[in-house]
Every structure is written in structure tokens, then in C-alpha cells.
């Protein structure tokens, strides 16, 4: 009986200290997306505001730039990827560690900016002969 109790205690301890990689973050109970950012800490707004409002900021900026021709606004998709593109792949897409894709796949929100916009930082287009 005593042996069984010791075994049970050991098993419990083993479960308690075993690492849980999918439960990253402070809370430890909720799965959080894993994000890899090349140049963190230089964003145009605080993290909370960006998480909640980045889509609105980008939408208003895109209309001003596209329709009125206003350039050089802080909320610019190209400026986003300068910092947020992954160090490994140079892109904000491609794997669930890359900035845009990680959160959007986590939150199951469709991401269609990059159907037209270039997701790689510093990409040079080449074109083709007619």
C-alpha cells in the first residue's frame, strides 16, 4: 500500500513538472500562437491597440493612399513587414510561426491582404519579356 502511494506521488510529480510546449505564455492554460519577429519593439502603436485595431488602421490607410494618393502614413502594410517578417524566411506568411499567419490561423480569420500584396520584405520584382 505504502509502495503504491509513493508511486502515485512520483507519477503526479512527473506530470506536474513535465514541459507543455503547446501551452506557452503566462497563463499556461491556454494555447497561444508562437510568433517570431525580426525587429520587435518598434511598432506604430501599443501592442493591445494593434491587436484590436490593426485591420481598421490598415483599411483606412489603404483607402487614403489608393483613392487620394496620400503616401507615407504610419499604418502601411509595407512598413509592417519591414519589422514583422520572419528572420528565417523573410516573410510574414509560410508557416504558423510567421507573424500574420500565426495569429490568423490561431483565430481562424481569413487573411487575404497577401493575395495581392508582397509578403516578403525587400522583395525585388523582375518581370518578363513580352
Amino acid at each position: 500500500m505504502k509502495l503504491l502511494r509513493i508511486l502515485a506521488t512520483l507519477l503526479f510529480a512527473a506530470i506536474a513538472v513535465s514541459p507543455a510546449p503547446t501551452f506557452a505564455g503566462e497563463g499556461g492554460r491556454t494555447a497561444k500562437p508562437v510568433i517570431e519577429i525580426a525587429n520587435p519593439g518598434k511598432c506604430v502603436a501599443p501592442v493591445d491597440e494593434m491587436r484590436r485595431n490593426h485591420m481598421e488602421m490598415l483599411k483606412h490607410q489603404r483607402d487614403r493612399t489608393m483613392r487620394q494618393g496620400i503616401r507615407g502614413e504610419p499604418a502601411s502594410l509595407n512598413a509592417c513587414i519591414e519589422c514583422h517578417a520572419s528572420k528565417k524566411t523573410g516573410s510574414v506568411l509560410g508557416s504558423n510561426e510567421n507573424f500574420c499567419q500565426s495569429c490568423h490561423s490561431y483565430a481562424a480569420v481569413k487573411l487575404d491582404c497577401w493575395d495581392c500584396h508582397q509578403p516578403k520584405a525587400g522583395f525585388k520584382a523582375t518581370g518578363v519579356k513580352p
Binding site: 489603404r62 483607402d63 487614403r64 489608393m66 483613392r67 487620394q68 494618393g69 496620400i70 503616401r71 507615407g72 502614413e73 509595407n78 493575395d115 495581392c116 500584396h117 508582397q118 525587400g122 522583395f123 525585388k124 520584382a125 523582375t126 518581370g127 518578363v128 519579356k129 513580352p130
Partner: protein, 255 residues
């Protein structure tokens, strides 16, 4: 009707001179109060708009193409355009490839005289593509550049039907090789943007810069002191299909 102005008395230029006094890179040097030395740069390069300011309706960007200088068989403007705008897809059916600018050959049947000229979006003042667009995606910017807002384009291709110049293309396949400054993608209609991203930086369109014959002239049609306005005022120029009264921003010389 407005009275003809002397070049120095253009109010817009005066305003820019006042605003730009002391700002490096604008090309103005104050000699004495009210007297400015204006640097004349490369043929009528666009003025750099300040970041955060909108395109001005006082400006109307235009292009004058001298068909007499356009060399037969030369495709430098097309290459430069497609490199600048990242038009790189080659589809099994070449009719589906995007065509922002193309060369066409005119033959006078009476005497066989051949003329080549580049044809692209003519940036009409009264664009039929904007009239027919059901979502408002096809639009004319305040400075006369006709664009497609891909955020609202549904790819219906009415504008392609409406355009008398066959200037627009639909992107048929998913793209990955876009120029960061020129977003483009599957399911949207696109056409020449007059290199709007370059114009907003104060540069001229890629085709103009690449033409080895100097057959293309870019500038502000509304500014009587610009090289393009002076040339249009002094030599006979044509708007293709002027009978449609669309008032194109792209004009031709020597047709």
C-alpha cells in the same frame, strides 16, 4: 476664361516656392526676397508631394508620345513597365497574360507607311471604365490618373469591355512575384497606373525613363510652363479616337 499668366505668376508655383523656401531638395534657391532660382531638372520631372498630402486636382498628369521617334521592333518600354510593375506570369494561353502596355503597328493602306506606337491606358478625363464599374473600384484620382482599386474590384470585367483601347487585363492566376509597391493579384482587373508609385515620389513613369529614343514626355498638362504643355501647344498632337470625346491624358504626335 482666365487671362494667360506669365510663367512666374503661376499661383501654384508661387505657393510651392514659398512653402519650399529653405527646404533642401526642392530645387528652389532664394536669390532675393521674391526672387527664386528654380533648378530645371530632368525633362519635366514630377514635383515631390509632401508625405501626408493628397493628390491635387490642380495637376493633370499626361504623356506625350512621339510616334515618329518610336523605333520599329523596340520593346524597351514594355520590358521596363513589366519589370517595374512585376508583371511576370507566362500563361499557357498567351492571350491571358496581363498587358499593361503594348506596341501596335499602324499601316496606311494607300501608301504602305508604317507607324509603331505604344498603347496603354489613356487616362481619360471622362473614362468609360469608371462609368460602367458596378462597385466603384475603377476610379480616377484627383490628378487624372485612372486606377483600379483592387480592394473593391470583383473581376467582372465590364471595364475591359468598355475601354476603347483594350487597355485592361484580368489576372487569371495566383501571383507571388509582386513588386512591394505594386500590389496585384488573381481575380482583379488591372492596367497602366502611369507608375503612380513613382510619380508620387517625384519620378517619371518607367516607360518614359527607359525609352532610348526619348519619344515619351511626361508632365503636368495643366501647367502651361511644363515641357509637355508647351509641346502640345506648339506641335499638332492627336488623341486616339478623339471622336469619343474622352479627353485622354495620353497624347500622340506624328500619327
Amino acid at each position: 476664361m482666365t487671362a494667360p499668366q506669365e510663367p512666374g505668376s503661376n499661383p501654384r508655383r508661387a505657393f510651392i516656392a514659398a512653402a519650399g523656401a529653405g527646404v533642401a531638395g526642392l530645387g528652389f534657391t532664394a536669390i532675393a526676397p521674391g526672387l527664386h532660382l528654380m533648378a530645371v531638372g530632368q525633362a519635366d520631372a514630377a514635383e515631390v508631394r509632401k508625405a501626408g498630402s493628397a493628390a491635387s486636382p490642380a495637376v493633370r498628369w499626361g504623356l506625350l508620345i512621339d510616334a515618329g521617334k518610336c523605333a520599329p521592333g523596340c520593346t524597351k518600354c514594355i520590358d521596363a513597365c513589366h519589370t517595374e510593375n512585376g508583371v511576370s506570369e507566362k500563361l499557357p494561353d498567351p492571350r491571358q497574360n496581363s498587358q499593361w502596355i503594348r506596341k501596335i503597328e499602324l499601316v496606311d493602306r494607300r501608301d504602305g507607311r508604317k507607324t509603331e506606337l505604344p498603347m496603354m491606358c489613356q487616362h481619360c478625363a471622362n473614362p468609360p471604365c469608371v462609368d460602367v464599374c458596378p462597385t466603384g473600384a475603377s476610379m480616377k484620382r484627383a490628378d487624372g490618373i485612372v486606377l483600379v482599386d483592387r480592394h473593391t474590384c470583383i473581376g467582372c470585367r465590364y471595364c475591359m469591355m468598355a475601354c476603347p483601347y483594350k487597355a485592361r487585363s484580368l489576372v487569371h492566376v495566383p501571383l507571388t512575384e509582386q513588386n512591394p509597391e505594386v500590389p496585384r493579384g488573381q481575380g482583379c482587373v488591372e492596367s497602366c497606373t502611369l507608375c503612380v508609385h513613382r510619380v508620387d515620389r517625384g519620378q517619371t513613369p518607367a516607360c518614359v525613363e527607359s525609352c532610348p529614343e526619348g519619344a515619351m514626355l511626361f508632365g503636368d498638362l495643366n501647367d502651361p510652363s511644363s515641357a509637355i504643355a508647351k509641346r502640345i501647344a506648339s506641335v499638332p498632337t492627336t488623341q486616339v479616337r478623339s471622336d469619343l470625346r474622352l479627353n485622354q491624358g495620353v497624347r500622340y504626335q506624328g500619327l
